[in-house]
Amino acid sequence: MATVYGIDLGGRGPALQARGLSVYYGEKHAVQNVDLEIPANQVVALIGPSGCGKSTLLRCFNRMNDLVKTARVDGTVDFHGQNLYASGIDPVEVRRRIGMVFQKPNPFPKSIYDNVAFGPRMNGLDGDLDATVEESLRRAALWDEVSDRLDDSAYALSGGQQQRLCIARTLAVKPEIVLMDEPASALDPIATQRIEELIYELKRDYTIVIVTHNMQQAARISDYTAFLYMGQLIEYGPTETIFTNPREKRTEDYVTGRFG
């Protein structure tokens, strides 16, 4: 029976399992020897002060750090019992099945439609492309705002709309796991709430790892929370425990805003 920190997962098992994960940027040891289990169909929040390595850790889960020339990754990440960093694993497939929403909105300089359709097209999934685009935009809570101007440039959207477009674009590929790096940092409270509802809804079909600086948000939407500090995983457990009864003093200080 699979358990995470003594919690029964109902036999679902971990979707991702990191062991001894380290990331170096040249000499800098940005993520230090992290062991982390991401249970399937759950939301895991990564929290911690700026620069502590949340984005870096998140990018390990779909091999985005391969693209950073100075970055070197040690350790293993198991996905369906397979190490993502084993030789012979194609990072392209990894990224198709483990999607990512980036910290800064990064739409392509193309139309709204083409932005969402890019992933399905590149992966040969263009069965009913129109339907996929609409469904993805609806799920990202953007459809109502753009349905009548799908051919407009994505650059004509506001920052928050662009971020939701990037979420839609990721969903269109239908990944198993969605990695989100502060997806709501540029959104207003209404759009943020929609995104949170979306995350809650996505949980049925997807596993979600989300980086956030917003403690209330982490408490609201996540099932598990990991607290990172200076590249180390300080504490990991059920969100309720982390927020109400953490083992570590540093965790308590951080989640209550007394960090300094």
Binding site: E93, F108, M122
Partner: protein, 296 residues
Amino acid sequence: MSERTPVPIGTAESAFDRRRRLFGVMFAWLCGAATLVGVAALVVLLVDVLIDGLPRLDVQLLTSFASRFPERAGVRAALAGSIWLLVLTAVISFPVSVAAAIYLEEYAPKGWITKVIQTNIANLAGVPSIVYGILGLALFVRAMGLDRSILSGALTLSLLVMPVIIMASQEAIRAVPPTIREAAYGLGATRWQVVSYQVLPMAFPGILTGTILALSRAVGETAPLILVGAVGFVAFTPRGIMDQFTVLPLQIYSWISRPQDEFRELAAAGIIVLLLLLLTMNAAAIILRNRALARR
């Protein structure tokens, strides 16, 4: 707590403020003056050429071949030769250069070999064109037996422009924001897909500008073409890439070096034709570029 006396905007300019404002104004004037130098030189050149050449610029000039008699001479062979050479050079150098730029930017391992290649390309861009002529003569005309043909000329000019196009293309590819690459890779695109669907379309306007600039220089080249066998007197238009040829700059040069005034006017008219050819090329580039930009 200290009281702040309200100060209306524009009433409290310090010596520092005045100095930097003055500096700003001076800088703008200096840049304007620099621009004027270039424009003035161009205007003087143009007016001089137009005065001499315009009377001779007519249909007959375009339809006649070179001749000993100035009133019957024209640029037909030279214009045709220049266009043939231009098109063939573009066809050869553009795909090769862009492919090389893509390789160097997106695929090449960042080791010392790549660095050596990179440095060499930069150096090649600075080699005098006559040196390429010597190489073309030895390699294309003699060793490969291509003779004094348009193909020899185009291959030689291709060698000449390729370093410039490669470097301009690399610059344009490098200017594509890494976040765009990340986004595409993050959606499960392969390297080939990222390059062909995202990077190249974004870099295309820059690549095009570099190519046109390089080709504009090539159209004006004389020295290397003399070496690979372009001749000043050709009385037919080329029919294929293995034909003999002449080009506008060479024709102009051969006319200017004659003593008669009529030939000098003819040369001026030839220069106007050459300028028109360049303008057409640049206009085509601008149209293509705007179309590429509009597709965003």
